[in-house]
Symmetry: C2
């Protein structure tokens, strides 16, 4: 038995498209709804209360459009809002993001792991708990990256400004001996090619998009929610839909129709 | 009596155009030759020996084209090469740039002055001597700005990357109580509008382009070298001439013909 209802995915902006790509690669028969909360990007420096409220209204919007599952494709929103969503919708499949501390702690040989993330994620209780649980034997150096989300939102994946900004965040981590870098924000995988140029070849870059897609698949299988297709993908933006439409070919890999949503 | 020979102006790239604008505003009857050494930009992290050699070959190129005076419209090149040029051409009018430490030391009320410049400029003996001479009574905080020249070379004067990069350089200076910021690189005046948005209205931004144009005028008058016009402006690039031509409307304010020079 198949469930053709779509999966709802959202982010503060376009970062979650890196997760959406992994979900589509793994589950090509699933219809997807993607909401970019670009009217309120970036989340990284907003209060947890504000972000929790955004999660609520966006979840309602996606559920009204028939979502059978929700993916909070944003680390900051997960830290602030996923527990609340699970409480409000106990029967719903809700998947969140978290920095891949456990795999990074297993991968490091130098014993020093760097975490690139937003201020909001790094300050969260959820992140502190992750470190306590999985990183007791390694040294973890955190690096907030103010401005990087904005560069990626603008589709500037290789501009001189993005390059210099990223270098300023990464170099201190390398100087401290990090051999493993966690991309703790769903926007950051879009600058992986740039990052790859900046770090020695032995340095491992860890992101969570693929693991989240796998986890989602496991849950859908277990709950009998897999679709058989055909799949349809729809996009909404709470900001300027034409702006999202413009970067879709770069970040999503093809054009898409973007609607405005005033949530 | 008028001397219609042109004034030769050069920089590692497009930064010197901020000085060229001041020269044209003050001396509109003067013909100008501008050479952007874009094949070797940025100078900021190159060795003084390398830069000195660049100054020599560029000076020869401009003198062969009849320059009656040279303006080294680059702080890093001035620190590394202007003394050498004066020694080689003792009869020539040679004007260089230096961070405006003296006016900044006079302007500050908080007693804390910030200097934004390249690593090359900040490391130079010339800069150390400037501080000794004019900044003994104020606290000076220096801030190298790696990557900023590249943003400006690309014509990215207001992109999210340039904005975030610049904010990362400026915020620590504000946190330290700076009320006066020296723009110690001729590229930086092009991001003055962006900088103005980032700093409180009481903060003074000091650059040297206008002072250099005034000084040049004084020397030309004293030496009987002023032109009466009509003026002609010509551009060369040691890099990609079409790239310079593309940013001229933004940085110079109008189109111009750019030739290739293989110096």
């Amino acid at each position: 038995m198949a469930d053709e209802a779509p999966i709802g995915v959202f982010d503060s902006g376009v970062g979650g498209l890196s997760v959406l790509r992994e979900i589509r690669a793994r589950l090509p028969q699933e219809s997807l709804l993607y909401l970019a909360d670009s009217g309120h990007v970036p989340y990284g420096e907003k209060s947890p209360d504000f972000i929790r409220e955004r999660c609520r209204v966006i979840a309602e919007f996606l559920l009204e459009r028939g979502a059978k599952a929700l993916v909070v494709a944003c680390n900051t929103a997960t830290a602030a809002g996923v527990a609340d969503l699970r409480e409000r919708y106990p029967a719903l499949t809700v998947v969140g993001m978290e920095p891949a501390v456990k795999p990074a702690a297993q991968a490091t040989r130098s014993g020093v792991v760097g975490v690139l993330a937003t201020t909001g994620t790094l300050k969260s209780a959820k992140f502190a708990a992750l470190l306590d649980r999985f990183a007791s034997d390694v040294r973890v150096i955190t690096q907030p990256c103010p401005g990087l989300v904005e560069c990626i939102e603008a589709g500037e994946l290789e501009s001189p400004g993005t390059r210099a900004l990223l270098a300023g965040f990464v170099q201190p981590l390398l100087d401290e001996g990090c051999d493993t870098l966690i991309l703790g924000c769903t926007h950051y995988p879009f600058v992986k090619p740039l990052l790859r140029e900046m770090v020695p070849s032995g340095v491992v870059l860890v992101d969570t998009g693929a693991a989240v897609a796998r986890h989602l698949e496991t849950l859908l299988v277990a709950r009998g929610l897999l679709a058989s297709g055909p799949a349809r993908v729809r996009f909404w933006s709470s900001g300027d839909p034409s702006r999202l439409a413009r970067v879709l070919p770069i970040l999503w890999g093809e054009n898409g129709t973007v609607s405005n949503c005033s949530v």
